[in-house]
Symmetry: C2
Subunit: 558 residues, 2 copies
């Protein structure tokens, strides 16, 4: 069955590998929630499936559970009322190890086939998952659909393709024949078996539970590892559905479903750290705070640890050929999901003497006004604004807005909006604060907070941006300039700081966005992440090669 799955998706897999190597635009899963793509009934069926999850236990017949966990609250103002089985570590790990035995031996085609079928079925569940993502993360529906569904599925496929690409470089067998001058050559038959590391632990976050977890989850599965998925206590449901789908496909393919398990736990339950240090855990994929990510890197030394943590994303404004386009683009980036993206810009450097534009010189005040006006326009109509802003995921974000107000001069205040449908939803518009270059903010203010920083000149801005990204981490850097030398300087600074650079975004592409198969998400070269989604280093150490060799005169081993 797993080979049938492989054959079903082989063409997709080959396209994925091809896309990874050319890095042009490619997407397997449509981001349009249109009935023409997903079917006339998909939207209603998906919503109903999500609603049927509420206020009851989530059934998941997995091993070694005792008791229940789960107290998720929608950022739109109600409790989900779902409970999940709560595993006992000491029983779960042996159960997973036992389940993994036949998976371990199944080989790359079975691993890829099962993984690809899981992703295809997740795609068919995109509406259900979209509502689950919306009501755990606070994303607006369209974003929850796209980022939580097809974009996350594309990242899953990318990880599977990346693993397949690497495993394909290793031959199953080789004939080795070494000449011996006048004597008969030495002849050996060799075989190379791909062996997974063991059990992978995937630790999800509360803002992008699927998008950030799928790469590690599917890189592990596609290389033969078992996976324990540990969601953030605030965003369990999207990953519980994912685990349910994975277990269903595994069982159909004749494998033990406990190859993929859910590790639900309650807030303030230290059990996750205990699990992360267990010797059976060979791989850890983490998205979340720098504190927790650094702790894992420094303590879970028995495992390969892949982290995405926090950072300070920045915009350097030198000059532009489209001031209004720039302002609109930046405003949208700051508003999108209320800045609760690891890619949202935070520090914006603008020369204190202003910049060149096609309409002539624009003063510092004119540039900042263009940006704050664009934000005000985007958020002026609450009913439309909430479809971009979404809701505030947690109280920490709200408190951060308060703290940021005191850091400088408020250029645009954050205000509360009323959601037309969810009266209890917490909605906030972006806050823009001006601070001195001397006190340029070097910690992450995750949420709808940005700082405008007047600089003496662009050189100063580039230097600051490079240093802050290098020391404090960054996933994105954005630059605006019409000057080729400035663009080169920005590219060099980005290379030195190990941060992806976007230049002159004035239209429909935003710095927050990272496209699977084309954009590396993170570089692994600054403190914001120790890995990139997805590259060879992200997959190649999740498996090992064990070889057997024997002289050909003797009958070969299997």
């Amino acid at each position: 069955m797993s080979i049938a799955f492989f054959e079903r998706h082989r063409a997709t897999l080959e396209q994925a590998v091809q896309a990874l190597q050319s890095r042009g635009y490619w997407s397997q899963f449509s981001e349009s929630p249109s009935p023409r793509v997903y079917g006339e009934t998909a939207a209603d069926t998906g919503k109903a499936a999500y609603e049927a999850r509420l206020n009851r236990p989530f059934e998941l017949a997995q091993a070694a559970s005792a008791g229940l966990a789960g107290s998720e609250a929608s950022p739109y103002g109600f409790n989900l009322g779902i409970t999940y089985p709560k595993p006992v570590i000491g029983q779960l790990l042996p159960a997973v190890s036992a389940a993994a035995a036949s998976w371990r031996r199944a080989g790359p085609k079975a691993w890829a086939g099962v993984s690809l079928e899981i992703v295809a079925r997740l795609n068919a569940r995109s509406f259900e998952i979209a509502h689950a993502v919306m009501h755990t993360t606070g994303q607006a529906f369209m974003m929850a659909f796209q980022a939580g569904g097809p974009h996350a599925q594309d990242r899953a496929l990318e990880a599977i393709g990346c693993a397949w690409q690497q495993m394909s470089l290793i031959p199953a067998t080789a004939d080795w024949e070494k000449p011996q001058g006048k004597h008969a050559p030495l002849q050996m038959r060799k075989s190379y078996r791909i062996v997974p590391r063991g059990i992978g632990l995937v630790i999800g976050c509360c803002t992008f539970p699927t998008w950030n977890s799928y790469p590690g989850l599917f890189a592990n599965l596609a290389t033969g590892n078992a996976v324990i998925v540990k969601p953030h206590p605030g965003a369990i449901l999207p990953l519980a559905i994912t685990v349910e789908v994975a277990r269903e496909v595994l069982a159909e393919a004749g494998f033990a479903p406990d190859i993929v398990t859910l590790f639900a736990h309650d807030r303030d339950d230290a059990v996750a750290r205990e699990l992360a240090l267990r010797p059976e855990i060979a791989l850890i994929d983490f998205t979340g705070s720098s504190a927790n990510g650094n702790w894992l890197e420094r303590n879970a030394l028995q495992a390969k640890v892949y982290t995405e943590k926090s950072g300070v994303n920045q915009i350097v404004i030198d000059s532009t050929d489209d001031l209004q386009g720039m302002a609109r683009n930046i405003a949208f980036s700051l508003c999108l999901y209320s800045g609760q993206m690891c890619t949202t810009p935070q520090n914006i450097y603008i020369p204190k003497d202003g910049i060149r534009t096609p309409e002539g010189h624009a003063s510092f005040e004119a540039v900042t006004a263009a940006i704050t006006d664009a934000i005000a326009r985007l958020t002026g109509d609450a009913a439309k604004a909430v479809e971009v802003l979404g809701a505030i995921q947690n109280d920490g974000v709200r408190q951060r807005i308060e703290a940021a107000r005191t850091r400088g001069k408020v250029l645009l205040d954050s205000i509360a909006l009323q959601h037309p449908q969810f009266a209890e939803a917490c909605i906030r518009t972006p806050l823009v604060v001006q601070v001195d270059a001397n006190s340029a903010v070097t910690e992450e203010f995750f949420g709808p907070v940005s700082f405008v920083i007047p600089v003496d000149d662009t050189t100063m801005a580039v230097t600051l941006a490079e240093r802050i990204a290098q020391r404090h981490g960054a996933l994105t850097l954005s630059g605006y300039s019409t000057d080729p030398q400035v663009k080169d300087a920005l590219a060099d600074a980005a290379a030195n700081a190990g941060v992806a650079l976007s230049l002159n975004l004035t239209g429909g592409v935003f710095v927050n966005q990272s496209a699977a198969f084309s954009d590396y998400h993170g570089t692994g070269a600054n403190p914001a992440a120790n890995a990139a989604l997805a590259d060879a280093a992200f997959v190649a150490d999740r498996f090992r090669v064990v070889q057997t060799r024997e002289p050909v005169s003797a009958p070969a081993a299997n």
Copy 2:
């Protein structure tokens, strides 16, 4: 110039990548020290060059040195009398960082071209290096030539090929065009820059200073990193010559020679650990004891650490179709360089009721006698024996022979031989000791020491071998069986323990040998090593990719 180097060696590089993917026999550098290969005068010139090194300072015009280090003694019984510049860490690191700036930007072709030219020039110096290896490690001349010269150079080329293969999967640029339905597509021009990690530290060992150091050294250089080479205080000369050659090529190519530096230090000088923990050190390649390797893995958390440590290599004897061939093969493996190889077998499991052979049943005693007799024959003539045994590298090895004698019943004692040419050389034949399965040795006795262990049956032997390799590490596992089921069981045990398996070696291939481009050396899947030579995981995290993207409507950045 570096591009000229690249063009000069491009065909070799492409062959190397091809060889890596097919894993059949391939070697770029001839292992024959014949004048027909290396030239009529090469042997004499190389010896004279080595001799000219003795009893004087080794000139290396590298930055930031103060004072001298070096007190190497040949295991053949004399002091080399060579001193080396001793770097000051606090000055060396900034000097290397400064030198690395232009190297960092030079790009994959320059990195590969310079690396390949260095290896080609090392090949031309193989005789000089052979003498240097012989008189630091104690290897016999032929082994010092082959393993220290062409085989090490092949491993260097393998690492360069592996790095090139991975970097080649990443396009320099991409055109990204995302359809927008009825609207114009979004179009972006993207570029991907390969950025090295920084400075790599390569820590050599005293038995295979070049073979074990070249993979890390050249994997670093080929991915644009600077390299500090820290030899074992007992085997500096071969790596000093290597560094000299590297610096010469770098200078010719227009780069600062301090991109590759030597970090010579004296025994018991703790400065190596201080260096390993410096934040500038981004990569560490280590070969040596488990104590030091584990310390680096647990403490040098700022760096990617690749280690080869100690382990317990084993032989499982179930049955054979060539008892004498098996005995001769095992005897040679035990004698070669007096067991001072990380791949030498140590524990030999033989069923207590004997084994099947073509000549009928052979008792436990008959099998052990066949092995010990073969050793005695190989070592009977001292003049011939020393060409296989080489000399004992250090006193620790000699003391280990004494300690091993007390572990059980001595089946074949280790005796001192007189070297016909070097009266003061320390030469020892292999010791074979019988121990109970209950007290099967689980620590490494590096040197000419092996343990014969009677077992109830082959199942018991396979179980023991798997458990010991899994818990205590192993680089090799050897098995003898004519039974396909036993061979399968051995292959499964090897996969579970992450150790390379050799079956039924009775001829001219020995378990100690590991061929570049075909055999993975180490798996990274048991405690003997956390990496393999050389695979994708060994190279892919030595560089990162930093991308730049810009809408195509705007003029593209460089």
